[in-house]
Structures are given as C-alpha cells and as structure tokens.
Symmetry: C2
Subunit: 218 residues, 2 copies
DNA sequence: TTGCTATTCAAACGTTCGTTTGATACAAAC
DNA sequence: GTTTGTATCAAACGAACGTTTGAATAGCAA
C-alpha cells in the first residue's frame, strides 16, 4: 500500500497533465512548454523524466490508457459475473454500459475516447500497443461470448464486423460529443448518456441477429 | 465548358495537395513548406492566394469537401430515384453504398472521411460549415425517408440516434482503415468494401427495426 | 513602347518549437 | 565533512514554423 503513497511527483504530474492536453488537442497541437506549465514544473522535466515529448506520449498510453482500458474490461466482465452463460442482451448491454457509463469518471471517459480516436486517426506507434494488448484480445473475448447466441451460419468474419460496428458506435458517441450535441440539441448529461446506452444496446441487439432475443426476454 | 478549362493554376494545385496532406496528417502536422513543395510552387503562394494556412484549410472544405459531400448525397438520391416510396432496405443500402462505394474514387473517399473525422475530433471552425450545410440537412432528409417505415412509437430523437449510429459505422469503417485491416486481417480492396457495404446494410436494417423488412423481401 | 496589374520568387523576418546545458539544491552514504 | 546521485531550474541552443518583404517576371491595355 505504501509502495506508491500519493506519488505527487513531477513525473506523475507530467503524465496526468500531458494526457489531458494530448487528448484535448492532439500530439502536435500541444507543446512541451504547455505541458510543463500545466504540471507546474520546469521545461526540462519532460526530457529528464521521459527522454522527449514522443516518449512522454507513449508513456501516457502505457501507464494510463492501457490500465484504464483494463478497468473498462473488468467492469464489463464483472457485469457478466454469475450469468453463465450470459444472454445476448446481457453481453451487449454490459458492453455499452462499460464504455459509456462504466467505472470511469466522465472526464476520464472523455480523455480515454479522445486519445483512442486520435490514435486511430493518426497512428503514431501507440496504436501498435493498443491493437496488440487491448483490442485484439478484447475482440476475441467478445466473439466467444456472442458466438453461442448466434446462428452457426454466421462466420467469424461476419461476427467480427458486427463487433466492430458496436465498438464504432460506442467510440463515436463518446468521442464526437460536440457534433452529436449540436445535431441532437442535447447536452451530455447523465440522462442523455443513459439514453445512449439504451439506444446502442437496442440497436446492436437487433443488428446482431434479433432471432433469439425474444426467447430471452419474455 | 471553357469556364474552367484545366485550371492547373497554382491556387488549385495548392488546394489539391493541401487537402491530401491535411487529410493524411492533420492540420498541425503539415507545414506550409510541405504543401508548397508538393504543389511545386513558392512558399509565399499560400499567403498570397489564401491569406494564411488556416484560410487555406477552410477553403479546402469550402471548395472541395462540401462539393464532394454533395456528390455523395446526389449519388444516394439517384439510387432512390424511381422508387416511390423507397423501402427501408433501399434507403439503408443506398446510404451505405453511397458512402463506401459511391461516386468517389478510393483516394477521394479516404481523403473525405479523414478530413471529416479530423474535424469531428478537432473542431477548428470548419465543423460549423459541415454541420450547417451538410450534416443537418442530410439527417433531416434521412429522417423523412425512414420515418414511414418505422413504427409510429419511435420518436424523432430515437430515429436521429439510429441515423447517427449508421453514419458512425460508415465513417468508422472508412476512416480507421488501418485498425480495421489489422484486426480483420483483410486489405481494403473492392471485395472487402463490398463486404462492408453488405454488412452495414444488414446490420443497420435489423438495428432499425426489423419488423417490416420481411414483407418487403419475400 | 510605356504603364499597370497579377503572379512568382528568394530571402529574411520574428516566433515558437523540442532539446540541451551547466549550475544549484538536497538528501543519503561513506 | 565529503562524496555521490537525483532532481530541479534558468538560460540558451539550433531548427522549423507561419508570415512578410521587395524585387523579378510575366501578360495585357493603352
């Protein structure tokens, strides 16, 4: 417990502030001066502790993004605990909820989605980490969870596309909040988020097959 | 016809090359020197013709992105011509096809999606243009097309969310090609694109309701 | 020709960038 | 007390940035 007490070290302050700024503006739009100013430390601290701006960026993913992705995944799996096997709507509902409500604070979630979106848009090397350590295994897990509830005629590729569609929605509604808010005329409060979870769950459930949902929900 | 013959002017070369580079790397990651070098013109040309880098960026949207969005929309509407009223699967199929296959070359489509994605991620002022001139009217059009085929119990907001879900998929599969390719193990050739159109259409159709599809497709 | 306008160009502008440096402070080890 | 190693700091570095300048070059009208 005392291994890392509060750890309000320069290093950690840098990671926290860097993540927020990178998420908000993107790698190129944030300067080292901006980061160190926000972290209330000297300009040279980035190079001392991380060896450069790019390494700081990568370290943000290694030590903050990936652990948070794990928290999301654990939240998802915890929601399915005891349901053996979970029904289709359990899986999809837990998925949407883990991402849109889940264990993160709202600021964390925004940060998380934006960093991911940006990395999808502009692979800088961090995408390698995400794909290998997070996405790939998570998608496999999802496939195994969904497979028993779908007709056997559905191939693996088809199932994978469906999973990516759901993820696409989740990411999109998390990420392009500004556009979504503008087009729907709604602010991103708890009520709207709950509405989104409901919508994504319903839409995805029906999209996935819709043939054996009725038997589960009388 | 002779109004704009070839128009291989410096101005147009700048717009073309700037668009490609902005789409590929994002606004901040591209330098004026890089653009003018690609356009084979002098460094000062950007400021002479557009009055600055940001104005060039905005002009890319005004004179290239928006007209292309119109071509997509026309392609979508042309596919529905003669179908009065179009069925649900006509609308959704035409939508997916217009975006993923449609009237654009593959390079244009990549460029188009990337610019849009980036602007959703990083609103720089161009998003105002897109939302007002393109998205808003297009979404209204879609809503009117879909409305007659869905149960009356579905509210406007619900329908709008469904539309945004479909668009989210279309954008996502167009944009994050690298990640999609990596996770599916498939290259973005014509066959895969056709597969994506098929998938999005099917998934969206079912997601939209699934209650009156059967009557249309015996 | 002479003027006028529009465009291109090399060069330089001032600013900001990421990074490096060398001095300084501070604590634990000897 | 001295040494050693870690961390922070102000200052400066060279490079790259967006932009400006003023001269050179065309094309066309008078």
């Amino acid at each position: 417990m005392t291994e890392k007490p509060i750890d309000n070290t320069t290093r950690l302050r840098l990671l926290k502030n860097a993540e927020l700024l990178f998420a908000e503006k993107g790698f190129h739009a944030v300067s080292v001066r901006e980061i160190t100013k926000a972290a209330k430390c000297n300009l040279a601290a980035v190079n001392y502790h991380f060896g450069g701006k790019m390494n700081l960026y990568l370290e943000v993913f290694r030590s903050r993004w990936i652990p948070r992705a794990r928290r999301i995944r654990h939240s998802f799996e915890a929601a399915l605990q005891g349901l053996d096997p979970p029904f289709l709507d359990d899986v999809v509902g837990a998925l949407a909820q883990a991402f849109l409500e889940g264990p993160l604070t709202d600021e964390e979630r925004r940060c998380h989605s934006q960093l991911m979106y940006r990395e999808l848009a502009n692979p800088t090397g961090a995408l390698d980490l995400l794909a290998e350590k997070v996405m790939q295994p998570f998608f496999m897990k999802l496939r195994n969870l969904l497979r028993p509830h779908l007709p056997e005629t559905i191939g693996d590729d088809r199932l994978l596309l469906s999973i990516m569609s759901i993820i696409a929605m989740v990411i999109h509604f998390n990420f392009s909040r500004e556009a979504v808010s503008r087009l729907t005329g709604r602010t991103y409060d708890a009520a709207f988020k709950a509405r989104l979870v409901e919508h994504i769950t319903e839409f995805s459930l029906k999209g996935l097959g819709g043939m054996n949902i009725q038997e589960q929900q009388p």
